[in-house]
């Protein structure tokens, strides 16, 4: 339900959002009033006192104690209100309710990995139950990233070698945009995902399915899914165009040139190594930016990815 949306803010989707919006609107309205006072007074004066004579002196007034007290005191009161209001909500944003569901969020160039308590995990798609507080334990594997869901009014940096914490509670089901808001390089603007808020039941089902993912699906077909799910698609295309990384199209079976001057054939082992230990062999013309998927892909997933890449040879 889009009850709080305005010219400025997107519709609220979390418990904290209305509180943030209230302060935003308070500053907006007082700001508009202050702005009008300044501009209307200016406008009035410049019209009323526009230059008519070419000589002479003007009034010497340069003080007005009541005015000066007013324009010092009133803003002081206003900023104190704004400070305490903002602080109160901020503290709420930082103290996680006891019963919160804890999800570990890892940012790396240029995708998000989410680890759920029951051992499930997902990439670039955070699935959460509506109406239950969710605690995020963020960190990064390379540079600083920042987890931002506009509709939830939540943002927190993911800092390498440290944990940061934030939480939110979604108030309605739906899909919400997730952005990376700390500049992290070439793929910064592609480091976007979705937050899927679903009912508790659907969430439980999803966790179930997650642990059985790919069962009963042909490897190749599963690989197609993983290509998106594991975010290979942020860097590798399958249409033959090279972007950050070499395309998968027609890769298998060819030979590639490495930066160490050698040439290697692309076979199953090479692909496996490329995924698990990407820095070992770097293809010429590309930066060594591919993250290691060691610990992030299971054996069957690896097989599926290899099968998929294999299927892309001409």
């Amino acid at each position: 339900m889009d009850t709080t949306s305005s010219l400025f803010l997107p519709p609220a989707g979390s418990t904290i959002a209305p509180e943030v919006d209230a302060l935003f609107n308070f500053i907006l309205y007082t700001g508009v009033i202050l702005f009008l006072i300044v501009t209307l007074a200016t406008l009035w004066f410049i019209i009323r006192y526009r230059r008519r004579a070419r000589t002479g002196t003007t009034s010497g007034i340069a003080h007005s104690t009541p005015l000066e007290i007013a324009w010092t005191a009133i803003p002081t009161v206003l900023i104190l209100i704004v400070f305490f209001w903002g602080f109160k909500t901020y503290i709420k944003m930082n103290i996680v309710p006891k019963d919160a569901l804890e999800i570990k969020v890892t940012g790396q160039r240029w995708f998000w990995t989410f680890d759920y308590p029951e051992g499930a995990s997902s990439t670039n798609e955070l699935v959460i139950p509506v109406g239950k507080p969710v605690k995020l334990l963020l960190s990064s594997k390379d540079v600083i990233h920042s987890f931002f869901v506009p509709d939830f009014r939540v943002k927190m940096d993911a800092v390498p070698n440290r944990y940061t914490i934030t939480w939110f509670e979604a108030t309605r089901a739906g899909e919400f945009n997730l952005f990376c808001t700390e500049y992290c390089g070439k793929g910064h603007s592609e480091m976007i995902g979705k937050v899927k808020a679903v009912s508790e039941r659907e969430y439980a089902d999803w966790l179930e399915a997650g642990s059985r993912a790919g069962e009963g699906v042909p490897l190749e077909e599963y690989g197609v899914k993983l290509y998106v799910k594991k975010a290979c698609n942020t860097c590798h295309t399958v249409d033959g165009s090279a972007s950050v990384a070499p395309t998968f199209k027609g890769l298998f079976g060819h030979e590639v040139f490495l930066t160490n001057g050698t040439r290697v054939p692309v076979d199953e082992n090479y692909i496996r190594e490329s995924i698990l230990n990407p820095q070992a062999k770097i293809v010429t013309g590309f930066q060594p930016v591919m993250p290691t998927y060691q610990g992030l892909v299971k054996d069957r997933e690896l097989d599926a990815l290899i099968a998929y890449i294999k299927s892309l040879q001409q």
Partner: protein
């Protein structure tokens, strides 16, 4: 015009390049800094061009990232920080206080050479693969990226010395070289503003120096101060960076505010309202500005305690800023207001800075900043204060003192047309960005979701309107240098000392040491000619 003045005597390139005259050094700066502004503006137009629609329009992501880094770094380090102090400050400060020159003319010239050298080092990075870190150089990205971060940071490091020397020079000049009778409270407010600015320059810039040095060493040797992979703390880098860079925003705005005080008093032809309040609020802003840097880091992972303290202190900068704004408005009351181009810039400043400053209050409020941080709302905020504030004031000052600098007047009609275009274009470009940002559009995004396209498109169109305004301005200003009609020594009917000497001024400014007969804003007692 045939008379001997600082422009035509002595002659020759060498006499310019080795000049110790503060006015000539001001013009040398004008040349360098305008080039930088132009470059930064070109980068900006390219940015807006790419953002016209989502996906790839003209450049790839790497180029875009280098472009906004170059745009930000050039605009900040090469343009806006030196702009007002180094050009206008150098030119008019000694004139305003009735001195023959600044205290250390050699140092002044040296700082120009340092400026040029630093700028060249920074721009050299374009050739070697321009840095793509953003102007904030956050670690660990800046220690890892393959682009030439070192050239850019080294450039900024060198430019810091130029800024320090200018500040040092001004403080000493103001303390020691005032003309007889020029007491502290007889000084024009622009001088007060430059004084407050200079204090920040000498206090904060050394920290930028050590920060960039540490960053360079971190990149080379992995010393483990800022790089988490080496046991360092990236958030600490942010503290170091903003300890300089927040005060730096007041290095940008304070001299602008000083100019506005001059413009409003002159063109309202009225005694400035609350002289002392304006003078001391400059110092208040300068001081308080040192205590708030953490408001750039509310979601960086700094402690909640620090966030609270920084948010609290942040708001207190709003009070002296407000005092200034209200005093300027009050000055208009019962004035005799003329609408020359400089005054139009001053009025634009009043409107745009108020918007920019008030949106700073959104950002200073903890909970709201969590939502707005690193979105286009921040981009809009800082363009309103920097472009709408400082640049408007700078252009106003440039138009105000242009006849003094060159002895010739520009075309006043075209000047009004161009300020109108810039004002309209500016608001089209950046007001939209408040909406974009509040809706969640993150900054430093090469690509964006379709839902943001209409606003981005509108913003880009606005930037073209603004660019047209700037091109017109460049044309008539340059035209005025060669073809303008003689301006006379006091074209605006102002009372400060610089208008008592011929335009352009003599080599040592005044025929004899000026004697103060009235204060800078005695429009109620002194009958000055109006235009």
């Amino acid at each position: 015009m045939a008379s001997i003045n600082y422009l035509n005597e002595p002659k020759g390139i060498k006499s310019w390049l080795l000049t110790l005259d503060h006015k000539r050094i001001g013009l040398l700066y004008l040349f360098g800094i305008m080039t930088a502004f132009f470059l930064g503006g070109v980068f900006a137009m390219l940015l807006r061009l790419e953002l016209l629609s989502p996906g790839k329009d003209f450049f790839d992501a790497d180029t875009y990232n280098q472009l906004f880094t170059l745009h930000g770094a050039v605009m900040i380090f090469l343009f806006i920080i030196p702009s007002i102090p180094a050009i206008l400050g150098n030119f008019v400060l000694p004139l305003m206080i009735g001195a023959k020159d600044v205290a250390f003319p050699r140092l002044n010239l040296a700082s120009w050479y340092i400026y040029v050298f630093g700028s060249l080092v920074a721009l050299y990075s374009i050739i070697t693969g321009a840095a793509d870190t953003g102007w904030t150089f956050y670690t660990p990205y800046s220690t890892q990226t393959g682009t030439s971060v070192i050239a850019m940071t080294l450039g900024a490091f060198i430019l810091g010395f130029s800024s320090i020397f200018t500040g040092l020079n001004f403080i000493v000049t103001i303390h020691k070289l005032r003309a007889p009778g020029m007491t502290w409270f007889n000084m024009p407010l622009f001088v007060w503003a430059l004084y407050a600015t200079a204090i920040i320059q000498v206090l904060a810039t050394p920290v930028l120096g050590i920060t960039l040095l540490l960053l360079i060493i971190e990149r080379v040797a992995g010393i483990g101060i800022f790089d988490p992979a080496m046991g360092g703390d990236p958030v600490l880098f942010q503290h170091f960076f903003w300890f300089y860079s927040h005060p730096a925003v007041y290095i940008m705005i304070l001299p602008g505010m000083g100019i506005i005080s001059e413009l409003i008093a002159t063109f309202a032809h009225k005694r400035i309202f609350g002289y002392k309040a304006i003078a001391f609020s400059s110092l208040g802003i300068a001081f308080a500005g040192f205590l708030v840097w953490g408001h750039h880091m509310f979601v960086s992972g700094q402690s909640e305690l620090a966030a609270m303290i920084f948010s609290f202190l942040t708001f207190f900068v709003g009070i002296p800023s407000g005092i200034k704004v209200f005093n300027w408005v009050a000055t208009l009351y019962k004035g005799s207001i003329s609408f020359e181009a400089p005054m139009l810039y001053a009025l634009s400043f009043l409107i745009l800075f108020t918007i920019g400053g008030l949106t700073g209050i959104f950002l200073g409020a903890l909970s709201v900043d969590v939502h707005l941080h690193d979105t286009y709302f921040v981009v809009a905020h800082f363009h309103y204060v920097m472009m709408g504030g400082t640049v408007m004031a700078f252009l106003g000052g440039l138009h105000y003192w242009w006849p003094k600098m060159w002895g010739r007047m520009y075309n006043r009609l075209w000047a009004r047309i161009s300020v109108a275009l810039i004002f309209v274009g500016f608001n089209m470009t950046f007001f939209t960005q408040f909406i974009l940002g509040a809706k969640g559009m993150p900054r430093r995004y090469y690509n964006y979701l379709d839902q943001y396209q209409p606003l981005h498109g509108f913003s880009s169109v606005g930037s073209w309107v603004m660019a047209v305004g700037f091109v017109i301005m460049a044309v008539y200003l340059i035209h005025a240098i060669f073809r303008g009609r003689p301006a006379g020594s006091n074209p605006w009917g102002a009372l400060t000392l610089e208008w008592t000497t011929p335009s352009p001024p003599l080599h040592e400014n005044f025929p004899q040491t000026p004697k103060l007969t009235h204060g800078p804003y005695d429009y109620d007692t002194v009958t000055a000619p109006m235009t």
